[in-house]
Amino acid sequence: MILRVIQAFIMILAAIAFSFFLFRVLPGDPSVAISGDPRLPTATREMLNKMFGLDKPLFEQFFVFLANVFKGNLGISFQYKLPVTQILLERLWNTIILLVPATILSILLGILMGIIASWRQGTLIDTVITSLATLFWSVPSFWGGMIMIYLFAVNIPLFPTGGIVGYTTTKIGWGNAGEVLYHLLLPMITYSVIYSGQYTLVLRNSLNNVLSEDFMQLIKAKGYTDFEAIRKHALKNASLPLITLISLNFGYILLGSITIEAVFTWPGLGRLLFEAVFYNDYPLLQGLFLFFSTVMILMTVTVDILYMYIDPRVRLK
């Protein structure tokens, strides 16, 4: 376990180094990026380079960068003229507001659909659910979002087309929770429907496997109905693959929100990534990359460790 934590720490260090060199080694003059004008006079360019310490050797620059990252200083965004860390923390809340309910909903939806499909195994309902789940699994989420906006925000104007609050509202707080909720519904539903597909398929598959085992015959012989047999006995045995999938997905949940946020212009971290690209905001982009990497690495390690407790077979290895 300690080994895993050390490994994670090394991974994070590697991610920091990777992001540093990614933005330095690849073509493009940083002083040009700061001013946003390639016709910059040489004198100004040298001055800018000196000001930001870009004239120092690469390795010295790297250690300055490393020290700053550990102090929580990720530089200042070109576009917002604010510390990157501050922007990230602000946006993180919006992402959490969207992701937590959407993830829970997608798992619940997946479980429900999986149970129904397995309960009505081989019938039309099963076929419909399985094909729908395959469809949701394969649909590119940005296009799925576009279709949802077209159907439920433009054609039938039930929901707003995007954003977290209306155009006139400037502040987000408990005062306008209702407004936020209203904007939240469509992206949340889209996310959960798209991501429920794979949960449905996995649970259906593992439930069907359990149902074909001998002990289920005995349970049926005892007089349980099919549904009761699934609910009381099969579900528990079939849940391990689902738990594995959910925990494996944990790191990727954050990534899933990127496209959904972009389609629905939800001002979270994913949307921020596109804004950073749009405004050529290098510090913000680098900060985002580091943040996403760190979260992914920490999630993966946490899941690994948690898994040792859930499944004792892993511990023995």
């Binding site: 991974m11 590697a14 991610a15 990777f18 990614l22 933005f23 690849l26 073509p27 493009g28 395959t134 469809l135 394969s138 649909v139 590119p140 940005f142 296009w143 576009m146 279709i147 906006i149 077209y150 433009v154 054609n155 087309t161 790191g251 954050l254 990534l255 990127i258 496209t259 972009a262 389609v263 990534l273 596109f274 690209v277 749009f278 982009l285 985002l288 990359f289 996403f292 990497s293 992914m296 690495i297 993966t300």
Partner: protein, 301 residues
């Protein structure tokens, strides 16, 4: 010892017939699975379209042939886009981009991933440790942001798009090939080859590579199914090649230029359906190939 030429030709003939038999056998098995056959036919048609798009499209896709967002009509079955280009022709030429990106990405991912996976599994120990740590690093690094950043930093072009996607997908073949070779190298015939005195390189190329190739092929098919939506995604956020026609670029223009509010559903629904169809078809074909080529898997499923 030299063989007589006629004997050699006989040998070659026999070998060739064996190969043909294998291919026919494979196609026969593919025919047994209806969904796989359908996927194969769809993809075959799309590949033909992507090679000869000019045969199928009625208009030059970059040409303005009418007013913006003209609804579908007989002359333009899928209407016109935001500047008055024929959507069906754009769709047909977009197939080419998707297929090129899909093939190049899948090919490169296999060329990079297969040797790493084989060497890592075969040698084990230190080699495995180093190679797997690098692979793990790329697995855990968030793929979307990395892809976006690479596509953003490099000059926007088709090569950039391909490279950015390769950087995030090459780890999948490594994992698949590695676990296959791990079980292969425990087989008796590999031990026998070693005892007889074959060098490691010879064992890998003569005894392991041929056994891994079918799996590599099915992985490549599936990798195309991952690469094509990734290209669409990059183009959709405006990081694709601006001079290129692709399904993602079509969706980008539809999204940014208000096809929603103009109610121009023909502009954004067809490209998405194409992406969806291709993804599902590649996945079905890849999975069925894996099952056919790997009889072990067929028994367990």
């Amino acid at each position: 010892m030299r063989m007589k030429t006629s004997t050699r030709i006989e040998m070659l003939k026999w070998k060739l017939s064996l190969h043909i038999k294998r291919v026919v056998n494979f196609l026969n098995q593919l025919r047994m699975k209806k969904s796989a056959l359908l996927a194969f036919i769809i993809l075959f048609i799309l590949v033909v379209i992507s090679i000869f798009p000019q045969l199928f499209s009625l208009y030059i896709p970059t040409e303005v042939v009418g007013s913006a967002w003209e609804p579908p009509s007989l002359a333009h079955p899928l209407g016109l886009d935001d500047v008055g280009r024929d959507v069906l022709s754009l769709l047909i030429y977009g197939t080419r981009t998707s297929m090129i990106v899909g093939f190049c990405v899948a090919f490169l991912a296999i060329v990079i991933g297969m040797p790493i996976g084989m060497l890592s599994a075969y040698y084990g120990g230190m080699v495995d440790n180093i190679l797997m740590r690098i692979t793990e690093f790329f697995l855990v690094i968030p793929s979307f942001p990395l892809m976006v950043i690479l596509a953003f930093i490099l000059k926007p072009s088709l090569q950039t798009v391909i490279l950015s996607i390769v950087v995030v997908v090459w780890t999948q073949p490594v994992r698949i090939i590695r676990s296959e070779v791990l079980s292969l190298k425990e087989r008796l015939y590999i031990t026998r080859a070693k005892v007889v005195g074959n060098t490691n390189m010879r064992i890998i190329s003569r005894y392991i590579l041929p056994r891994v190739l079918p799996l590599a092929f099915s992985t490549m098919i599936m990798a195309m199914g991952w690469a094509i939506p990734s290209e669409a995604f990059l183009s959709w956020i405006g990081l694709g090649d601006p001079t290129n026609i692709s399904w993602g670029t079509m969706l980008y223009y539809a999204f940014t230029r208000g096809a929603f509010t103009s109610n121009a559903w023909w502009h954004f629904i067809p490209p998405g359906i194409m992406i969806l169809t291709v993804v599902i078809a590649f996945n079905i074909l890849g999975h069925s190939m894996e099952e056919i080529l790997n009889p072990k898997l067929r028994k367990t499923i």
